[in-house]
Amino acid sequence: MLQIQQLEKTYKNAAEPSLQGLSLQFSDKSIAGLLGPNGAGKTTTISILCGLVKADAGKAFLLGMDVEKEREAIKRRIGVVPQSIALYPTLTAMENLQYIGRLYGLGSTLLKERINQYLQLFGLEKSAHKAIRYYSGGMKRRANIIASLLHEPELLILDEPTAGVDVQSRNMILQFLTEYNKLGHGIIYTSHLLEEAQQLCDEIAIIDHGRLVVQGKPVELMQEQQAQSLEQVFLQLTGSSLRD
C-alpha cells in the first residue's frame, strides 16, 4: 500500500531537515498509523504522498505507483482528509459535497445517492442544509471525511481525523474506518492519540526527526519494548522531552 525509500526533505530557510532518509512500508489494505511527536515529519510525509510537496531525494510509492510520476493515477484512487476542515464554511454540507463530487466527475444520480448514503452513515442527514460554520467540531470533522469519500477511494489518508472532537464523534469515526477497511480499502492515518492508534491500527510506524524509529504491529512492538501500552513504547523511543 505504501513504500517509502530514503525520503529527504529540507524546506527553504529551515534550520533542520524535515525528513532525513525516511524509509518505511505498509502492507496492502491495512489500517496503518503514522505516529510521531510534533515536528517528526508526519505532515511533510503526507504532503509528499499527496504531491503537494516535492521530496529532495528518495522515492515514495502509493498502491504501487510512483507519487511523482503517476500523480494523476494516484489521485483517482486515493482520498485525503486534511487536518484542517477543508470545506467552505458559508456553504451547507450538501453544497460542499455537491461541488466536490462534481469535481470528481460523479454523475448527478450517483452523486446524490452517495451524498445521502454518507450523510446518513455519519449522522448528518438532518443538518445537510445547514452551513458548515454552524456545525459543532465533531460534525465538521465528519463532513470533512465524507468529502474525501465520495469517489470511494481504494486508499484513504487521514491527517489527525479525530483531533478536537467529542468522544461520540470519535467513536463513530473509528467505527467507520474499521468498517471501511473491512470492505477492502486501505487506510493510512496520523494521530497524537496513541490509545486510539493501538485500538485501530493493524500496523504502525513511529517516526522522529525525519527518520523511522520503529515499525510493526502494535502488539509486537509492545512485547518488544516490554511496555504496557503503545504510549509507553512511544515515550521510550522518542523520549519525554517537550517538543515545539
Partner: protein, 430 residues
C-alpha cells in the same frame, strides 16, 4: 467543462451567501463614482461652461469702453456686473468687494481710455496716410499713459485670471485694430473720392481665415468633449473593477490556509480547469460591476444634475474591452493571492497598489497633465491602458480596430501576472 461550470456555480454560491459583501462590491464603487463625478464637476466646468462674475466699473463712458464691455458680455464664460442694489459700481466699492472675497474679479476702465485709443488710432492713421500720400490730417495730440485695472482675489485660480486677461487683451487689440483700420480706410477713401469703384473694405478682407471647431472622433460632434461624468464614471468604474482583487486574493489565501486548496489539488485532472471556473466567475462579476457603473453614469447622473455618460455605439468593442480589462484585474488578484502568504500582507498591498496604479494611470487626473516622467510611468499601469481604451471608444468613437493595441498590452499584463503566480505556486511545492 463540467469542472469549470461546477466551480463557476460554486463561486456564485459562495458570493451569494455573502449578501453584505455582494452589496458592498457594487455600492461602494457606485458611491465613489457618483461622489467623484459630483466633486469634480465644478473644476471640469470651470474650463467649459462655468460662468464667473466680474465687477465692471466704467469710469470712461466712451465708445471704446462700452464696446469692450459689450464684447466681454458676449463671451458666455463671463458675467459682467455693472450695478449692485440698483447703484452703479464705483472703483472703491468694487475694490472693497473683491478684497472681502465677495467677488473674485473686478475690472476698472479709467476715464480717458476711449479718448486715448482714438488718439493713438489717429496717430497711426495719420502716419500711414502720410506715407501713402493721403491729404489732410486727423486730430491728434501727445499720448498719455492709461491702463485698465484688474483687481483679483488671491484665492482665484490662475487659469481663471489668465482667461480674463487673455479676453481683455484680445478685445482691446481687436477694437484698436478696428478703429485704426476704419480711420485709415476713411483717409484712403477720401483720397480716392473721385474714383467710382467700391470702398476698400479693409476689415472684411482681414477676416479671411476663420476658426471652426471639430472633434477628433470619426463620427463625433464638437459637443462631445470630456466632462466630469465622461472622465470620472469610466475612470472610477475601472478603479472599482480592479478592486475585485481583494475578494480574489482573500479567497485564494483562505483556500490555501484552510486546506481547501489541498483538497482541490488532490482531485484528478488539472487544477487549471478549476482555476478557469474561478477566474470566469470573477471576470463576469467584474464586467457586471463595470456595466452597472456605466448604467449609473447614463441614467443616474442626469438625475443628480450632471451630464449623462455617452458610451458611443461600438457595443461589441466595448464588451470585448471590458472583458479584457476584467481578465487583467482578475489575473492581478490571482498574483496577489499567490505571492502573499497571509490576508494581512495581501489585502493592504493589493488595495494600496491599486490606488498607486490608478494615480499614475490617469484615473485621478488625466495623464496629459502629469509631469513627463510620470507620463512614462503611466505606461506601467494596466489602468492607464484600460482607461485609454475606454476613452478611445467613448470620446473618439473608436472601435476594436483602434483599441487593439491597448487590449494586447492588457493581455500581456494578464499573462505576466499569471506567469508570476504560476512560478510562485510551483516554488511553494518545493
Amino acid at each position: 467543462m463540467r469542472k469549470i461550470l461546477a466551480t463557476f456555480i460554486n463561486e456564485s454560491r459562495l458570493f451569494a451567501k455573502d449578501l453584505a459583501g455582494m452589496a458592498l462590491l457594487f455600492l461602494m464603487p457606485l458611491a465613489l463614482t457618483v461622489l467623484m463625478a459630483l466633486i469634480q464637476d465644478a473644476p471640469f466646468r470651470e474650463y467649459q461652461d462655468i460662468r464667473f462674475e466680474i465687477l465692471w466699473v466704467d469710469e470712461d463712458g466712451g465708445k471704446m469702453a462700452r464696446q469692450l464691455g459689450a464684447e466681454l458680455d458676449s463671451i458666455p464664460q463671463f458675467v459682467l456686473i455693472r450695478k449692485l442694489n440698483d447703484q452703479l459700481l464705483t472703483a472703491d466699492k468694487a475694490q472693497e468687494l473683491v478684497h472681502k472675497g465677495n467677488y473674485k474679479l473686478a475690472v476698472i476702465v479709467p476715464k480717458g481710455v476711449s479718448a486715448e485709443v482714438a488718439n493713438s488710432a489717429n496717430q497711426v492713421a495719420n502716419e500711414l496716410g502720410a506715407k501713402l500720400g493721403a491729404p489732410g490730417k486727423l486730430p491728434q495730440r501727445e499720448s498719455r499713459q492709461v491702463a485698465l485695472e484688474i483687481y483679483f482675489d488671491p484665492v482665484i485660480k490662475q487659469a481663471m485670471k489668465l482667461s480674463l486677461l487673455n479676453a481683455l487683451e484680445k478685445q482691446v487689440t481687436r477694437i484698436q485694430a478696428e478703429i485704426i483700420l476704419a480711420r485709415l480706410e476713411n483717409r484712403l477713401d477720401e483720397q480716392a473720392a473721385d474714383s467710382s469703384g467700391p470702398g476698400l473694405r479693409l476689415q472684411e478682407k482681414l477676416q479671411a481665415v476663420q476658426i471652426r471647431e471639430i472633434s477628433s472622433g470619426q463620427h463625433a460632434t464638437a459637443e462631445l468633449t470630456t466632462n466630469s461624468v465622461q472622465h470620472n464614471v469610466p475612470a472610477w468604474a475601472l478603479f472599482g473593477l480592479f478592486f475585485i482583487i481583494i475578494p480574489i486574493a482573500g479567497n485564494f489565501i483562505r483556500e490555501r490556509e484552510d486546506g481547501s486548496l489541498m483538497r482541490i489539488k488532490m482531485i484528478p485532472g488539472s487544477y487549471f480547469t478549476i482555476l478557469l471556473g474561478k477566474l470566469g466567475f470573477y471576470i463576469v462579476l467584474g464586467m457586471l460591476q463595470f456595466f452597472v457603473m456605466l448604467a449609473a453614469g447614463a441614467l443616474l447622473m442626469p438625475l443628480l444634475g450632471l451630464d449623462s455618460l455617452q458610451i458611443g455605439n461600438a457595443f461589441g468593442s466595448l464588451f470585448l474591452t471590458v472583458l479584457v480589462v476584467a481578465a487583467t484585474a482578475t489575473a492581478y488578484g490571482v498574483l496577489i493571492g499567490s505571492v502573499f502568504q497571509t490576508p494581512n500582507q495581501a489585502l493592504p498591498f493589493g488595495a494600496i497598489s491599486i490606488v498607486i496604479l490608478s494615480a499614475i494611470g490617469g484615473i485621478w487626473v488625466p495623464v496629459e497633465i502629469l509631469p513627463a516622467g510620470l507620463q512614462q510611468l503611466a505606461k506601467l499601469s494596466p489602468l492607464h491602458w484600460a482607461l485609454d481604451a475606454i476613452n478611445e471608444l467613448f470620446l473618439r468613437s473608436g472601435s476594436i480596430l483602434t483599441v487593439w493595441k491597448q487590449l494586447v498590452i492588457l493581455l500581456i499584463f494578464a499573462l505576466l501576472f499569471f506567469l508570476i503566480a504560476g512560478i510562485t505556486e510551483s516554488r511553494r511545492r518545493r
